[in-house]
């Protein structure tokens, strides 16, 4: 379903992704783990047509994301690291807008919106504005929206960041069940090792733009002679702390918080 071969992404002198290759099978849940700034989000951006790779080839369901952008965009759904809902619209309006943008026929749109909002426990609140939602509800709505157009692949970029254990648990249960019923391939990144351990069939560990290990959770533990995936991860990526510089978006977010406190 996904094939990546010798992909490199450079920003000026900085190499964010350094010659990575991997494959994800249809219906698989594949986790991409790595410390901050390891190249996870850059990889997702390249796969989802938002960034062109500097070199190397990529394939999504047989299509090239760098060239056949619109075709590729029909294949996947994505939940970004940070929110991408319209806060001033109601929950169902966000679903509706998404459905129209993805040319989902009206009948199917209505049916799936109802089915997904019910599944993610949001049906009762479908007429509430998204800005009145809690963090967990927003995340659930985003994931429900990602499934609306029955994508072949779902990208989840740290979907559980900032959620309580109950929400995380519930969220993965739903994602797993949709993975089984709709045969959707899931490509996820996370910082919570227990989640990767629980849901992912295969895991790739990326650090400094390179894939340092790939295999099932069991294989990674055996390879590093550790008891848990967390330990295996630390053995593979070291214990030093990575700092990212604040992007323009981060600065904007700070401004927004000031504004909202008016």
């Amino acid at each position: 379903m996904i094939r990546v071969e010798h992909v490199v992404k450079k920003f000026g002198d900085f190499t964010a992704v350094d010659d990575i290759s991997f494959e994800v099978q249809t219906g698989e849940i594949f986790a991409f783990l790595g410390p901050n700034g390891a190249g996870k989000t850059t990889t997702i951006k390249m796969l989802t047509t938002l960034l062109p790779p500097t070199s190397g080839t990529m394939e999504l369901n047989g299509l090239n994301p760098a060239v056949q952008k619109e075709e590729v965009r029909k294949q996947f759904g994505i939940v970004f690291q940070d929110p991408s809902l319209d806060q001033d619209l109601k929950a169902w309006e966000n679903m509706e807008l998404h459905g129209v943008l993805y040319s989902v026929p009206r009948e199917v749109r209505r049916e799936r919106t109802e089915m997904l909002l019910k599944l993610f426990d949001l049906w009762e609140r479908r007429n509430a504005l998204v800005k009145e939602f809690s963090g967990g509800m927003k995340r659930r709505l985003e994931i429900a929206r990602g499934f609306l157009h029955t994508p072949k692949i779902l990208f989840l970029d740290e979907p559980t960041l900032g959620l309580d254990p109950q929400s995380r648990n519930q969220l993965w249960t739903h994602v797993k069940s949709l993975n089984e019923t709709e045969k959707v391939t899931v490509f996820l990144t996370t910082h919570y090792m227990d989640e990767a351990d629980r849901v992912a069939q295969r895991i790739a560990v990326i650090d400094h733009g390179k894939i340092v290990a790939m295999g099932s959770s069991q294989e990674l533990k055996e390879r590093t002679k550790t008891e848990s995936l967390e330990e295996a991860f630390l053995v593979l990526t070291g214990t030093s702390i990575r700092d990212e510089s604040a992007s323009a978006t981060d600065r904007m977010r700070q401004m927004a918080q000031m504004w909202r406190k008016r």
Binding site: R73, D82, Q87, D88, E96, S103
Partner: protein
């Protein structure tokens, strides 16, 4: 087509839900209309200019359309910040359609806000001189709306965060308003000012509005229409180009 429609509808829904903003953004134009309208009234009358309220009302209507449309475009920055922009950029819809949907939505919202201002002007005592020409006035409002909604999208696509906003406000939006002849007649201006006002697209919009509403245009109506149409096409092109370059 449906993508354009849904994005247009989104702008409309957001507008109708922001009642405070609707009222708040009428405040400043209202000051111009009432304070200047009645404050300068006597002097203007003595100078042989007729009623200043009649004169300034089309300018203030133009101002409302200018501000609403340009800010609807710059609101792109908020979408970038709250993340919604990404949702539209990874959707299987050509960016051009996304841009058109937004721009038309912004233009429609500005027309609605402009219409509100027209009503306020009527209450204040403004009277269009020839009712048959009112549709022409609406056409000019529409052109102003499209020109500046497109400019707003071009600016919103080019800025990374709100830092540049004050700069745009003070060195672009306010000058566009003040140099448009919204507040003063264009005859017998000092040479430099005359040249600058002619470079400001809003000048032709306000002049056209004045022609349609009070029959006092400085340029020919055809000139006003022509200049606005050309500028609209150019800015739509610029907006679409800048929008296509956004990276998230």
């Amino acid at each position: 087509m449906s993508a354009i429609y849904i994005l247009w509808l989104r702008e409309l829904k957001k507008y109708t839900r922001s009642r405070t903003q609707i009222v708040a953004s009428l405040g400043q134009p209202l000051l111009y209309l009432l304070v200047l309208g009645f404050g300068f009234g006597p002097v203007f009358q003595k100078a042989g200019g007729g009623s200043y309220l009649q004169f300034v009302a089309p300018g203030v209507i133009g101002m409302v359309v200018l501000f609403t449309s340009i800010f609807s475009g710059i609101a792109l920055l908020w979408d970038r910040q709250f993340g919604f922009l990404k949702e539209t950029l990874v959707a299987p819809v050509p960016r051009l359609l996304v841009m058109i949907g937004r721009t038309l939505g912004g233009a429609t919202v500005s027309m609605l806000q402009g219409t509100l201002m027209v009503i306020v002007c009527l209450i204040a005592g403004f009277r269009p001189t020839r009712l048959v020409l009112v549709p022409l006035g609406i056409l000019f409002m529409l052109l102003i709306a499209i020109v500046f909604a497109a400019l707003g999208v071009a600016i919103g696509s080019s800025l990374q965060d709100m830092q540049g906003f004050q700069l745009i406000m003070n060195f672009l939006v306010m000058p566009i308003f003040f140099l448009s002849g919204a507040l003063f007649p264009l005859n017998n201006l000092p040479k430099a000012l005359a040249v600058v006002t002619r470079l400001d697209p809003l000048t032709y919009g306000v002049d056209g509005l004045r022609g349609a509403l009070i029959g006092a245009n400085h340029f020919a109506i055809a000139t006003d229409l022509g200049v606005l149409a050309v500028v609209a096409v150019a800015l739509l092109y610029l907006g679409a180009w800048r929008f296509s370059k956004i990276e998230v």
